[in-house]
C-alpha cells in the first residue's frame, strides 16, 4: 500500500464533485433572465445573423441588416421538398397569423438550399402562396455554404433518378432572430404550435 500517495480520499473527491457540478451548471445555461421559453432557447450560442442573398419577392440583393427591427424566422428548405418544408412553412404562417398586429413585425425567411432548381420567379410564387410574411431567398452555393456553416447546419443532394429528380437533405429547425438580429430560439418540428405562438409573443413583447 506504500505506493498510494493520497491519505484522504474524501476531500479531493468532494472538490472534484463540486467542480463537475459547477461546470454542469455553467453549461446548462444560467445565462438567461427570468423568461421561460417553450421552444429551445439558444441565446448566446450562435452568432448574429449575417447574409447577402437575393430576395425572390423583390428580385434584388438583400442583407440581414435590411431586416433589423423585424423578428425573423429562418428556415432552410427547397421547393421540391415533398412534405417537411410546406408543412413547416404553413405551421409558421399559422403561428404568425395568430399574433394579430404583431404579425406585421415578423418575417419568415425561406432560404433555398437547392438554387439550381429553385428559380427566383418560382420561389416568389411558392413563398407567396403561404403568406405575405414569407420571403424566399436564393444565393450561390458559396454564400449558402457560408450561411449554413455559420449556423452549423448542413445540406446535401441525393443522386438524381431517371427523371432528374433528387432529394435534398436539410435542417429541420427554424432559427429565430430578435429585432437586433441575435439568434434567440430554435424551433424544432416536435414543438407544438402553442409553444411557438407563446415564444413569438414573448419575443414581440421585448423592448427594441
Amino acid at each position: 500500500m506504500a505506493g498510494y500517495y493520497n491519505t484522504e480520499k474524501s476531500v479531493p473527491f468532494k472538490i472534484g464533485l463540486f467542480c463537475m457540478l459547477a461546470i454542469l451548471l455553467l453549461l446548462t445555461g444560467c445565462n438567461g433572465g427570468d423568461e421561460q421559453w417553450h421552444t429551445k432557447d439558444i441565446s448566446g450560442l450562435l452568432p448574429p445573423l449575417v447574409f447577402t442573398l437575393t430576395s425572390a419577392n423583390r428580385g434584388t440583393v438583400v442583407h440581414a441588416e435590411d431586416y433589423r427591427g423585424k423578428i425573423l424566422l429562418m428556415y432552410f428548405g427547397y421547393m421540391h421538398c415533398p412534405d417537411v418544408c410546406p408543412m413547416t412553412l404553413s405551421r409558421l404562417q399559422n403561428a404568425v397569423s395568430q399574433l394579430g398586429k404583431g404579425a406585421e413585425q415578423m418575417r419568415i425567411l425561406f432560404v433555398s438550399v437547392d438554387p439550381q432548381r429553385d428559380s427566383l420567379q418560382e420561389l416568389a410564387q411558392y413563398t407567396q402562396a403561404f403568406g405575405r410574411q414569407v420571403i424566399g431567398l436564393r444565393g450561390s452555393q458559396e454564400t449558402l455554404q457560408e450561411l449554413t456553416r455559420r449556423y452549423r447546419v448542413t445540406y446535401g443532394y441525393d443522386k438524381p433518378d431517371a427523371d432528374g429528380n433528387y432529394n435534398v437533405s436539410h435542417s429541420s429547425a427554424v432559427y429565430t432572430f430578435d429585432r437586433q438580429g441575435r439568434a434567440r430560439l430554435l424551433i424544432r418540428d416536435k414543438d407544438p404550435l402553442s409553444a411557438i405562438v407563446h415564444d413569438l409573443e414573448q419575443l414581440l413583447g421585448e423592448e427594441g
Binding site: 500500500m1 506504500a2 505506493g3 498510494y4 500517495y5 493520497n6 480520499k9 479531493p12 473527491f13 472538490i15 472534484g16 464533485l17 463537475m20 461546470i23 454542469l24 453549461l27 446548462t28 445555461g29 429551445k40 439558444i42 448566446g44 450560442l45 450562435l46 456553416r149 452549423r152 447546419v153 448542413t154 445540406y155 446535401g156 441525393d158 432529394n167 437533405s169 436539410h170 435542417s171 429541420s172 429547425a173 430554435l186 424544432r188 416536435k190
Partner: protein, 287 residues
Amino acid sequence: MPSVVTLITPWEFSPTALVTSLGGAILYWRGMRQRRRENRRTGFLPALSFYLGLFLMYAVMQTYIDYLSQHMFWVHRLQHLVLHHLGPFLVVLATPHKVLGRGIPVKWRQQFLLPTWYSWPVRKTYRFLQNPVVAPALFVGLIYLWLIPEVHFEAMLSETRYKIMNWSMLIDGLLFWWLMVDPRPPSGPITLHYSMRIVILWVVMILQIVIGAYIALSEKVLYDVYSVCGRAWPISPITDQTIGGLTTWIPAAMMSVIGILLVIRLWMRKSAENDQESVSVADSKQV
C-alpha cells in the same frame, strides 16, 4: 465526393490546434537531434508512437473529419475515441517528456518552463488532477457530461462550447493515460501503484460500457441535434445512434484492456528488477 483539398483543409480553422501540433512535432524533432549529439538514442518506436498520436489528434480536429463529426453522431464518437483515448495514449506511451524537454532551448527551459512547472500552484493543480479518485472521475465524468442530451445539443450548436468539449477531452486524455502508463516506479509521490492503476482502468471500463450500451441499445433517439442540423449523408437516426453507442462501448473498453496489459508488463518488469536487486544484496551478504 469532396475534393482532396476539402478533405485536408480544416472545417473550422483553429490556430491553437495548429500551433500545439506543429510545436509538439518540432520540439520532439529538436529533442531527438539534441539527444543524438549527446549520444543517446531515442528509439524508433517511441518516436513513431508520439508522431502517430499527434497526427491522429490533429487529423480528427482539423480535417474534413471535423465536419463529419459535427453532422454525424457516430463520427463524433469516433472523433472522441481518438481525442480521449487513442491519440493521448500513443503520445504518452512514447514517454515524450524527456525528448520534448531537450527540444526546448536551454534558456527557456531554465528560466521559464522548469520554474513554472515546479511552482506550487501548478504542482498543486497537477497533483489534484492526478489523484487516484479525481483522475478516473474526471475521465469518465467528461464522457458522461458531454453526452447529456441537452449539454450535447448546445455543444454541437455553439462553436465555443464545441471547442471546449474537444479540448477538455484531449487534455484530460493526456493526463489520464500518462497516469496509467507512467513507466517510473511507483515509489515517488506522483506515480500510482500498479494495482491501483489496474483498478482504475477496470472501473472506467465498466462505466464506459454502461453508457455505451445504454446509447447503443436505446430505442428512442437521444441526440436530436443531428436531425436539427442535418446529417452529412442520409442515414437513419437510430442506426447512427447505435453505431455511435457501440463506438463508445467496445473500442473504448478495449483501450482499458490494453492499458491493463501494459501496466501488468510494467509491474512484472519492476518486480523482476527487485528480485535481481535482492539476489545481489543476498549475494553480497554471503560474501
